[in-house]
């Protein structure tokens, strides 16, 4: 077990170093930091002094190591657009994105898994067929279009839900949450549904196909023969056997949730990291882009690691040495 964890951690390091290198290269070669810091008019001496101060006269690899050192201390440079430290900007916006992605993930699981079990058991019922048709449409609708349609229906036609912003938030030290205020919770509904819908359809289809597979297996027939209630069979014996692929997909899809939160945040003007990224790309704000890239790489590598470890916890077959 410990050997496995160490091996996985060692695999993650090269990925992070490569992404760190790309991020560093962006920082170093795209745009001229001297212009950004000194303005358009500066003398050769000023430029040399600044280069020396920034360590830009040192060998390339030394600069890369220095860069990694700064990043580990949370120093991502200064945003060109907002003239504030990037680390601070990201920290301000992280809670909004985390809250949105987490609510969307929980929503998609709470709705997707039961519906998947239902359509898997009653595969020929009318309701199952309707659900499958809807899920196919859900997979083909782009996230931003779902958002636009929900705004049209609930904000414009019915006027019951807000269409932009985060409502009122409560601050705790470095964290801000909208879950504790009425307007905050209401404002979360449409973005979370928009972001969660695609995941929900994926989970539904996955759980359904896994259920179909498991229901044919011998241990389910045996459970039936023992006279267990359908409820115990469906939700205990069958569902727990579908969990391995579901965990993988949900875990990996958490990354997709973060990627698509960029779109959702833009549609709903949600003040998270994704909106910051889109605004930064529009004006080529390189420090924000490279910091976002690094941060997202850490998140993704962590997710992959946790998914692998969960495998271990869920599927006993993987524990026997694994060699």
């Amino acid at each position: 077990m410990i050997a496995f964890i160490i091996a996985r951690l060692l695999q993650a390091i090269p990925v992070l170093l490569v992404v760190g290198f790309i991020s560093f290269a962006m920082f170093q070669f795209v745009g001229d930091p001297l212009v950004a810091l000194l303005g358009q008019n500066f003398t050769a001496e000023e430029a040399d002094a600044m280069r020396h101060n920034l360590g830009m006269d040192q060998p390339f690899l030394v600069q890369y190591v220095n860069f990694l050192g700064r990043v580990l201390h949370g120093d991502f440079g200064i945003s060109y657009r907002l003239a504030k430290p990037v680390g601070e900007l990201l920290a301000e916006r992280l809670p909004a994105t985390a809250e949105l992605a987490l609510c969307a993930a929980i929503l998609s699981l709470l709705v997707g898994v039961p519906l998947g079990v239902l359509t898997g058991i009653k595969r020929n019922a009318l309701i199952s067929r309707v659900m499958m048709m809807l899920s196919l449409v859900g997979v083909s609708l782009p996230t931003f279009l779902i958002g636009v349609l929900l705004i049209l229906l609930f904000a414009v036609q019915l006027g019951v839900l807000p269409s932009y912003g985060r409502g009122d938030v409560v601050h705790f030290a470095h964290w801000s949450t909208g879950l504790l205020t009425g307007t905050g919770r209401v404002a979360l509904i449409l973005p979370a549904v928009t972001l969660g819908l695609f995941q929900m359809t994926l989970i539904l289809r996955l759980v359904r196909s896994e259920m179909l597979e498991v229901m044919r297996s011998d241990h389910i027939k045996f459970a039936r023969a023992r006279g267990l209630t359908p409820r115990a069979i469906n939700f205990h014996h069958a569902l727990s056997n579908t969990l391995v692929p579901v965990i993988t997909i949900v875990g990996l899809q958490l990354g997709m949730l973060i990627a698509f939160s960029i779109v959702t945040e833009t549609v709903f003007q949600w003040p998270g990291m994704g909106l910051l990224l889109v605004q930064s790309i529009g004006v080529a704000d390189i420090p924000v882009m490279s910091a976002y890239l690094l941060l997202i790489a850490v998140v993704f590598v962590t997710i992959n690691l946790v998914v692998d470890l969960l495998y271990f916890a869920v599927d006993p077959r993987l524990r026997g040495g694994g060699k």
């Binding site: 196919l136 083909s140 782009p142 931003f144 269409s163 990627a259 698509f260 930064s280 790489a297 590598v301």
Partner: protein, 303 residues
């Protein structure tokens, strides 16, 4: 004639004729592609011709509502542009970007996959590590970041002119690893076959063996992935354009049209957004269904 007859009698066509979903999707795709390709000749108006625009025609609702004007069947936007014509030209641009991007992905992916699978060893290890690293990130995120970096590198004067190339590059580069991985797998199998050995023995060069002997035998699965990725590439382009980092407003794709229309949702002019959105959704749904069918039809084990 003989070849055509053989094609019409094949399993492939038989399974197509037996599958109403595939036939309807194929019909929709053909219709959309025709409307897009023939847009300059059959569209009722030319949204790029500024002289023909009349502000008096602006914000007209579609024909089935009161005040609708039959010459603008799906209504007009705030500048008096016909929504139907806009959709036809927009689909044209969306499809152009998606096809070029997937073509680019295919070229890179197939080349890398062939080399990695055929040469093997450390070349294979390095190339596949790159694939692994990139597959850690969702394609749309890669496309977005590549798009941002390339724009930052380009001088502002060149940006407008190269925007189409930039977005094709960004989407293409975000989708090549899948192709590379599939081609590598099949190439490794083909490499051990007798015909490859025979080709080697008579002294054909490695690049030529890869291109003329192995390539035709590994294309099947790649075509299925390419179809499914075409639908995804259309969505990628629409998403980037919707975020405002895609194509310039002078070349409005479906995503751009939806973004423009978004500003008019609250004043009640829903048709500016909804019709391009519906076109996008129906088109992608049809491409996906067609890709699913193709996957099943080309895989005899699933029958």
């Amino acid at each position: 004639m003989n070849a055509l007859q053989r094609f019409l009698d094949s399993d492939f066509i038989y399974s197509f004729k037996r599958n109403p979903v595939a036939m309807v999707s194929f019909g929709v795709v053909v219709l959309v592609v025709l409307a897009a390709v023939l847009a300059p000749w059959i569209a009722p108006h030319n949204p790029f011709d500024l002289a023909s625009l009349n502000l008096l025609d602006s914000l007209k609702p579609p024909f089935f509502q009161t005040d609708g004007d039959p010459s603008f069947p799906l209504g007009t936007d705030d500048q008096g542009r016909d929504v139907l014509s806009g959709i036809m030209y927009g689909t044209r641009i969306s499809l152009e970007v998606a096809i070029l991007a997937i073509g680019f992905s295919l070229t890179v992916g197939i080349s890398v996959g062939l080399i990695a699978g055929y040469v093997g060893g450390s070349v294979d290890a390095v190339l596949m590590r790159i694939v692994d690293v990139q597959l850690t990130f969702p394609a749309i995120l890669v496309a977005l970041l590549v798009d941002g970096v390339v724009r930052a590198v380009l001088p502002p004067s060149a940006q407008e002119a190269l925007q189409l190339d930039v977005i094709v590059f960004a989407i293409g580069i975000s989708r090549w690893p899948q192709f590379a991985r599939t081609v590598r797998g099949s190439t490794m199998i083909e490499r051990g076959r007798d015909y490859v050995m025979a080709a080697r023995v008579i002294g054909i060069s490695s690049p030529r063996i890869m291109a003329t002997h192995i390539l035709p035998n590994v294309l099947g699965p790649v075509l299925v992935i390419a179809t499914l990725n075409l639908g995804l590439a259309v969505l990628d382009e629409a998403t980037l354009s919707f975020l405002g980092v895609g194509l310039p407003p002078t070349e409005p794709s479906l995503g751009t049209l939806i973004r423009f229309g978004n500003d008019f949702l609250f004043s009640g002019e829903w048709w500016i957004t909804i019709f391009p959105g519906a076109t996008l959704a129906v088109m992608v749904l049809s491409i996906n269904l067609l890709g699913d069918w193709l996957r099943d039809a080309l895989n005899p084990r699933l029958r």
